[in-house]
Subunit: 326 residues, 2 copies
Amino acid sequence: MITVEKVTIATVAERAGVSRQTVSNVINTPEVVRAETRERVRAAITSLGYRVNQAARQMRTGRSRLIAVRIESGSDGINGSVLDRFLHGLTDAATLAGYRVMLYTAADDADEIATYDDLLTAHDLDGFVLTSTHHGDPRTSWLAARDVPFVTFGRPWGAPDTHSWVDVDNDAGTLAATKHLLKAGHRRIGFLGWPRGSGVGDARRTGWAAAMTAAGLDVTGLSVAVIDGVDSGAEAAGRFPDDLTAVVCASDSLALGALRALPGRAVIGFDDTAVAHAIGLTSVSQPLAEAAARCMHLLTELLDGRAPATSTQLLLPPSLVVRQTA
Amino acid sequence: MITVEKVTIATVAERAGVSRQTVSNVINTPEVVRAETRERVRAAITSLGYRVNQAARQMRTGRSRLIAVRIESGSDGINGSVLDRFLHGLTDAATLAGYRVMLYTAADDADEIATYDDLLTAHDLDGFVLTSTHHGDPRTSWLAARDVPFVTFGRPWGAPDTHSWVDVDNDAGTLAATKHLLKAGHRRIGFLGWPRGSGVGDARRTGWAAAMTAAGLDVTGLSVAVIDGVDSGAEAAGRFPDDLTAVVCASDSLALGALRALPGRAVIGFDDTAVAHAIGLTSVSQPLAEAAARCMHLLTELLDGRAPATSTQLLLPPSLVVRQTA
């Protein structure tokens, strides 16, 4: 026999030892609550299984309280886990805010735009969280032209900053990684990245180059580009000069390849995947749960008509998780 | 320049000189639209040859073409990726079948049941795919008592087989792993698993024990149980007898721990995670995309009234992915 007890905002407040107003603030305007209190309230919400009553809210607001996000078709192993972690964070944040998340897949931008139309018609969605923004992305202007509320995880590469977005400061990640290696005495530090043209990949290269240049070091011949993968990374790492002592990589997959091809050299990955944790790879970690919570918060501001007149852009700092490889 | 050739609700809205919402109303709740507007929208629908899609289907069939699945709160690294891969497969299969997937989180069974109630009320869901079935699971009987269509990924441990389910044959996975080690000449093969009481964990232990017994080998003192994790696995692996030469593990996390604690010994993991691929760990692979597609197929059979009179149970065979560690 299962008894479903009614957990109310008062129950949460009592458990967390705060006022009901504070609980409400954590749900609706988390930025006004101190981080420590926020965590305590969120822990109470999770442990009590508190859910904002959806049906009641929909009646009050005339909204479906349903948002949509794309999930990649299939799953590509090491790197796919980044968007999966963002999805977990987004679902948690949406649940806290009383929203549900609907998934869709799309083969390309045109297919995704056709899907928006279908979803808006069939399911009366409130808004979208877009991921994997890129140069020449047509999705944001389509949604903006139709006044559909949306937020992107990823800045509008090359397009005007007319919508709200959250991104992680990729340059800062590789800059910190490179500085860490410089501090350890390395001078011949390479960058193993992706072919030019990807906003994220180019930003990660820029951070490394900036740290090297600031240290007065020559980067000629120290940047190698390859399609992401462990095997491709190992192959490409063989192209570095022999006197190289350390490598900053654009992904953990490439870092694994570099470790295999260049034993004994210091290696730093990017994304702090489960693989990095498992094998002791030093890696740059993206604050994905935080990014997801911020996206959800910006979207609910838009939906509640509480958004500031101008769009909001948030660039979150990554952190370096130091383990054994550097 | 993106051209979406499909005639959409937006095209109809533009032609009729009304908002998208009005078109949607004409399709779903025509009684709220003025007669003159209704006629103009219907004329636009006819002249454009607009194929009323999901919304109209829902009106006709009384179904939302929406199914729900739980996503775990947070993400626990190595092993969490198994359910993420199932989710990717389920979304792909649902899209092919013309369904969308809605996500929810739940702290425990009672919270999940309360969520069912909320979802069924607020979003008119067609059915559920349940994951992580376990002994004493109250969720299936709750749904069955209310005639809500559902399929489980995971057999009904201990409960009657009254609903359709898909599972992976865990016993067969560790049996194959153990036979692989026996064939390579190992005789002192341990099992590193989870504490008794978990259906999946016990089944994985059973497969190992069956292979050992069939080979006429004594298993006394060769089974060690611990809470899942790399560090806990390493600690527990120290409890094996010194003459042990190989270990079959209930997860890749435990296998990583065993590799660290018992260098030089043969180790086989379970779940074939990205970590296994990255470090060359031999591991048992679950056919997750296949399992997801089968779940979706069984659910659509139920929803379309095409299901056989008795429920269907599918036990899919895992496969052993042989790499460097065994």
